[in-house]
């Protein structure tokens, strides 16, 4: 009995945001105070369940845990056969940390959502649907289900950007929709291709089938070989747009600058990681051979991301854009990790996904509070904030230090692991990539110094310092960042077995 309840944990977890959403529907539009409180409270059930998941997770296992599997529907084929699509949820070492990170970021983003000024009821409804979507993406064990949740995040985020964003919100929302719609299209094509090829979309069945020596033999011959390559590449493009990989990054800049900061916390913190997750799950785990072939290309793309993001972050005049380019740069590190195709690199990629999620969240929480106080994020109009709001500036500084990878914070661990991994495979690229870390320090410190120090600008002179309701979530995020930085095993131990399994598939 207990076993069954625990096995349904991923289902409960994924749909738990809806509980709060239902309650929200009952609160009248005008009771904004209640709406905000309820909106924050609604993110606690997923958080609690995610922590429960972390607590009951078996660290030594490399397979999927808490499996919950139901028949869903079958597509009949001629001759009485059929393709069965299942409702299949579960969690393994790759998805567990991302789930926990997603719930943490979502709860704290809900705190940051109290800055939202209008239509709070709808806001929290979309927000909670978004949370359901992103949890579902990480928990689904069936590609069809994964796709459904993936699309739910797309639609709900569209509304969140378009209604509550800054001035150019509609353009940002449209660009987001079209780019990500294109990504989904690629994903859909490869999904259907996999279904037709293998007759199933369950992750573990796909993996078993593609591992089978006979299937391997069949698939290595033309024309199936080319079809498999097509499926694989369109998946890489789909997740490459999401991550984003260099030429596909424009939409993400727009979202970073135009979406409300609370939504950017989730977007930059969690949604971009869906790209990373997809690359590891479907790229490395499902198509190890193809992945090995394009590893060098991916590493080059990663390098481009790192340097391009870092250089452009250095010249931006708007804090939001600095952080947007910083995100591009940091996603390059994930690409490095994926490309290195060994335990260290892949573990580093997951560390980077979690760590960057938390760091992004804290930085955009700061942006949210800054917008609320100063009404601008332009570096030229800011300065000397440390005098009027020392604690708030301190939080920004701490977040910045985490971003540049200060030892003792989570960013350092992930970058260290990734570079250890990549130096074994592509020492030259890794060496150039190190340059990116230097640049990171440069642009981060530039942003922090220009905002916090120097002459005090008039619009910052009488702002209030951090409030307890802001301090608690921000400090909580920083605590997580420090925890991973000081004691990496808290994250490393549960994911170890899965990472070894995935790395062994690709031969690292």
């Amino acid at each position: 009995m207990m076993e069954n309840v625990l096995n349904m944990l991923p289902t409960w977890l994924a749909f738990s945001p809806l509980l709060g959403a239902m309650l929200l529907l009952l609160v009248p539009q005008k009771r904004t105070g209640w709406l905000k409180r309820l909106g924050i409270l609604a993110t606690f059930p997923p958080l609690v369940l995610a922590l429960l998941l972390y607590g009951t997770f078996h660290s030594g296992m490399d397979s999927v845990q808490f499996e919950h599997r139901l028949q869903w529907f079958e597509i009949p084929l001629s001759g009485g056969a059929s393709w069965e699509l299942t409702y299949h949820m579960g969690v393994d070492g790759l998805s567990m940390p991302l789930v926990v990170m997603a719930t943490v970021v979502a709860t704290l983003a809900a705190f940051a959502s109290t800055y939202i000024q209008k239509r709070q009821k709808e806001y929290f409804l979309f927000f909670l649907i978004l949370e359901m979507g992103m949890l579902g993406v990480f928990l689904a064990q069936n590609l069809f289900l994964f796709f459904l949740f993936f699309e739910i995040t797309l639609v709900s985020l569209y509304f969140l950007i378009g209604i509550w964003g800054f001035v150019h919100r509609e353009r940002a929302a449209n660009q987001f929709l079209l780019y990500n719609g294109l990504g989904s299209a690629f994903l859909l094509i490869s999904l259907v291709g996999l279904l037709v090829l293998f007759g199933t979309l369950d992750f573990n069945q796909l993996q078993e089938l593609s591992d089978h020596p006979r299937t391997k033999g069949v698939l290595s011959q033309s024309p199936l070989k080319e079809i498999v390559w097509g499926i694989f590449l369109s998946m890489v493009v789909a997740f490459g747009i999401k991550l984003p990989i260099f030429p596909f990054h424009r939409w993400m800049l727009k979202v970073h600058t135009e979406a409300p900061p609370a939504v950017v916390m989730v977007h930059s913190g969690v949604l971009l990681k869906m790209g990373a997750y997809g690359l590891i799950r479907f790229g490395v785990q499902l198509f190890p051979d193809q992945m090995r072939t394009i590893a060098t290309t991916l590493a080059v793309l990663g390098l481009v991301n790192i340097l391009y993001g870092a250089v452009l972050a250095f010249v931006q005049q708007d804090l939001k854009r600095v952080l947007a380019y910083a995100s591009i740069s940091h996603m390059g590190i994930i690409l490095f990790g994926v490309a290195s195709a060994n335990v260290s690199g892949l573990t580093g990629a997951v560390f980077q996904a979690v760590s960057h999620g938390l760091i992004s969240a804290v930085l955009f929480f700061f942006i949210a509070s800054l917008v609320d106080r100063a009404g601008t994020t332009e570096i030229g109009k800011l300065g000397g904030m440390a005098r009027s709001a020392p604690v708030l500036t301190g939080v920004f500084l701490a977040g910045g230090l985490a971003l540049l990878g200060l030892p003792g914070m989570s960013g350092f661990v992930s970058e260290f692991l990734v570079f250890v991994g990549l130096f074994q495979q592509e020492p030259a690229l890794a060496a150039v990539g190190i340059l990116g870390l230097v640049l990171t320090a440069a642009y981060t410190l530039r942003a922090v110094l220009a905002t916090g120090f120097g002459p005090l600008k008039s619009r910052l002179s009488d702002i209030t310092d951090i409030k307890p309701s802001e301090a608690a979530p921000m400090l909580m995020l920083l605590a997580f960042i420090l925890l991973i930085g000081v004691y990496p095993d808290v994250l490393g131990e549960p994911i170890k077995a899965t990472m070894q399994m995935i790395a062994s598939r690709i031969g690292g």
Partner: protein, 501 residues
């Protein structure tokens, strides 16, 4: 053995007879009623008739195919599936637009209802025909009723213009179909589809290939008009915009479904030998693929520039004709009937839902511009949610019936190894996000000074039905898949005699 009229099992035609009797009765009742009397009662009677016919149709499902009237009329699972869609579509149109029956002080009375019924009857005959003559009679009954329906608001100029354009283009397309049929008759000496198949095959093998193909392409040309596929779509935006909204909804759903039933029947029964002998793969398949791809591209890019909601929906309808052509064009995918019928069903629900919302919103806003939707999320939040679901479904985003329909078609296309059409389909789908979300942007992102408005009962009912259906069939497709799966499609391809004697 000679068969007499009463030897036939007439119960197989119960649905058609019900509609026929109802249409005739309503005509008479309408004549006898006073001019001022509310005609809505006729609407309810029409709905009852359609529901009864639906019950008869359901009752017939799963029984072996039956041919009646010297094998000109054929009741098989193929026909029944399409008839159910036609009946459901008409019932929902009648229900959604009950209020329309008396409006603007104009005398739009019973004729609206019984013309819908005769058009429906035409569609039903079309789906069940096993003979070129019956096919053409059904087609013309449907078309003529539709022409009159398009100009049912006699005093409105746009309505007249629409009807005129529809009449001209529709007649031309009928002429093409008839011309094509004449070649079939000329080559085979028969109007029976199954006999024609055999004899066309013989003609094909004795040096008349080009004539066989000519007859097929002439019919395809006319068919292109009827399903509103590009490049035969020029009439669509004008007619959709000018015709009264209920009629537009009817054209978009019922006419299109009937036309698809027509082309599937004719192509698969009469010309299937082309698949075995080769020209299908060389000529017919590619032609259909091009037709489909052009429709998707033209429909989805044409809609981008529209600011009138109904014109936008017209281009969207062209695009959907393109999607619907994919299964037929990639015939080797193995799910031709299943995916077409599923998509038509999903298309029925989401399109009728969208048109119903569109109608109430336009009547409140007194404008056909997309701007009529401004701020709907605050004026009528639930209506806005419903419209969002319909549009998201039309755009093929999960978790909706429209998504599953597209998914099904994609499976078919990729199983048939025609990857480029799958690519065109998903990419134009992404383009379509832009204009479907244009309406969503209006509803959610733009303010409005207007207040809440009331929605008539019939419209509420239809919106609820469509909404539930769109979400339910998207989340749990199994129910429909089972139903479609149990139908006997293969028997469609051969005459009754060869199987059941």
């Amino acid at each position: 053995m000679e068969k007499y009229l009463l030897d036939y099992n007439w119960t197989v035609m119960a649905p058609e007879l019900t509609i026929l009797v109802a249409a005739a009765l309503l005509t008479v009742i309408d004549l006898l009623m006073k001019k001022e009397t509310d005609r809505r009662i006729l609407g309810w009677m029409g709905i009852m008739a359609v529901a009864t016919a639906g019950a008869f149709t359901l009752w017939r499902v799963g029984k072996p195919p039956y041919e009646i009237l010297s094998d000109t009329y054929r009741v098989d699972d193929f026909a029944l599936a399409f008839k159910l869609i036609l009946l459901a579509g008409t019932a929902l149109v009648l229900l959604a637009f009950l209020r329309e029956i008396r409006k603007e002080g104009e005398h739009v009375g019973g004729e609206y209802i019984y013309l819908l019924l005769t058009a429906l009857l035409g569609g039903m005959i079309l789906t069940s025909s096993a003979d070129l003559i019956t096919l053409f009679v059904g087609l013309e009954l449907l078309s003529l009723s539709s022409y009159v329906l398009a100009c049912i608001r006699r005093k409105r100029l746009p309505s007249n213009e629409a009807a005129w354009k529809y009449f001209i283009t529709g007649s031309v397309s009928s002429a093409f179909i008839l011309y094509g049929m004449s070649f079939v008759y000329g080559l085979s000496g028969t109007t029976n589809l199954y006999m024609a198949q055999k004899r066309l095959y013989e003609a094909f093998n004795s040096g008349y290939e080009s004539f066989v193909l000519l007859s097929l392409f002439l019919m395809l040309l006319g068919f292109g008009f009827k399903v509103a596929s590009a490049p035969f779509h020029m009439w669509v935006p004008d007619v959709y915009q000018g015709a009264p909204t209920p009629v537009t909804a009817f054209l978009a759903v019922v006419s299109k479904t009937a036309a698809f039933a027509f082309v599937l029947r004719v192509l698969l029964v009469t010309y299937l030998f082309l698949y075995e002998t080769g020209p299908w793969q060389d000529v017919v398949g590619p032609a259909l693929l091009v037709l489909s791809a052009v429709s998707m591209v033209v429909g989805n890019t044409g809609a981008l520039r529209q600011s009138q909601t109904k014109r936008l929906m017209a281009y969207s309808s062209v695009a959907h004709a393109g999607y619907l052509l994919v299964p037929l064009a990639v015939i080797s995918g193995g799910m031709l009937f299943e995916s077409t019928v599923y998509y038509l069903m999903a298309y029925l629900l989401m399109t009728l839902g969208a048109f119903t919302v569109l109608n109430v919103v336009e009547q409140d806003g007194k404008t056909g511009d997309v701007a009529a939707f401004a701020g709907l999320s605050r004026r009528n939040p639930l209506l806005a949610v419903a419209m969002t679901v319909f549009l998201v479904s039309l755009a093929g985003i999960p978790v909706t019936a429209g998504f599953f329909g597209k998914f099904y078609i994609l499976i078919h296309a990729i199983t048939g190894q025609t990857f480029w059409i799958a690519a065109v389909m998903v990419i134009t789908t992404v383009i379509s996000y832009f204009y479907y979300f244009k309406i969503i942007r209006m509803m959610y992102f733009r303010p409005s000074s207007k207040g809440r408005f009331a929605i008539p009962f019939g419209a509420v009912a239809v919106i609820l039905v469509s909404l539930t259906g769109t979400i339910f069939f998207g989340l749990f497709p199994q129910w429909t898949l089972d139903f479609i799966g149990q139908l006997d499609w293969v028997s469609t391809l051969s005459p009754v005699g060869t199987q059941h004697q």
